[in-house]
Amino acid sequence: MESESHANDTQLRAQAEQVLANLANGDVEDAVEKLLNFNDARNDSLYQQIGKITRGLHDAIIHMELNNEQLGQSERDVQARLRYVIDLTASAANRTMDLAEEAMPIATALNTEATRLQSDWEKLGKRELSGEEFRRLYERMSEFLGYSVTESNRLYEHCHEIVLAQGYQDLSGQIISKIMDMLKRTEHNLVHLLAMAGSMHSEHGLKHEIIETIDAKKEEQRSTRAEGPLPDSENTLKSQDEVDDLLSSLGF
């Protein structure tokens, strides 16, 4: 780019000398035409700069992956991804609270019955129970032991489900990392854009500042590149059943 602007400068100087020579010879028409050419050259350079800025902006938008119509893929939609994070975190929070709310009365009921039995059990130890009371306590104890087995299992299952519900952290984390990545690239592009616009201001417009535009396609584009969760994407299978069907069609 150095040599290009140098060549431009040399050319400019040569043309300026010609204008002076034309004027010295009284050839005003030629001199005016050359001056108009200068202006055209300046305009061309401006148009080129504007073109570059437009392309840079376009690249930035593509990197932001907001331009759905162009890409024809809603999976690239940042908003859809973020909405998915909201849904995911909301449903995980609700699921966790539902499970905890279901588990608490189970624990309370076990506690209440155990407390009641405890006082009768102490009476039994002090031989304060009649034969009839003892038989009733025996029955209640059998019942309670059975109840404890099923209810403690239920409590365990609830805790297990609560653990599982925390998977949202991984999924939303993947989406947010992806979006942070997009923002970083967009910011990078916009900074380049600013540099371009800045160079337009500072120069007389004849210098061709060649600013590297970032190639939107440079990044690996294989179709199986890891993308993280993609809500509402056409190529994405919607459930484990669909995955299983596909795998069994492949001979699994």
């Binding site: 297990h160 998977g167 984390g173 993947q174 993308e227 299978l237 795998l247």
Partner: protein
């Protein structure tokens, strides 16, 4: 039964570890991407690999391919547990020789079923 769990999110590793413990598999180790997992696997002793796909450093699919290309590891059963659910990706994983594929978010039942199926097949082949 020694199992290696590979995922870049520690919460997910914890969940999978929890589920495996519930299924009676308590001997687990963890790695946060393919790059750290591969030397662990090569050092030996693992009977089963559970891996995510989307990880920085080395992805799960690359780890799977590296495992299948390694003379000592190539028969190691591999279960992929991932949010990547594109048709092409599942086909690629199948072609690379994955033994099971579970999409996130998953249920305990789905994971259990896949793991049991893999172990059944291993036992059938061994017997």
């Amino acid at each position: 039964m020694k199992i290696l769990i590979v995922d870049d999110f520690s919460t997910m590793r914890r969940i999978i570890k929890n589920l495996l413990r519930d299924l009676g598999y308590t001997n687990t180790q963890e790695a946060d991407d393919g790059k750290t997992a591969l030397p662990l696997l090569q050092s030996g002793g693992f009977d089963f690999l559970v891996t995510d796909w989307n990880m920085p450093g080395m992805t799960g699919i690359d780890l799977l391919k590296a495992v299948r290309a390694d003379e000592k590891l190539r028969k190691l059963p591999v279960l992929m547990v991932t949010a990547e659910a594109k048709r092409d990706q599942i086909v690629e994983a199948a072609q690379a020789g994955v033994n099971g594929y579970v999409v996130k978010p998953f249920t305990a039942a789905a994971l259990k079923e896949k793991i049991e199926k893999i172990f059944e097949r291993i036992e059938a082949n061994a017997g």
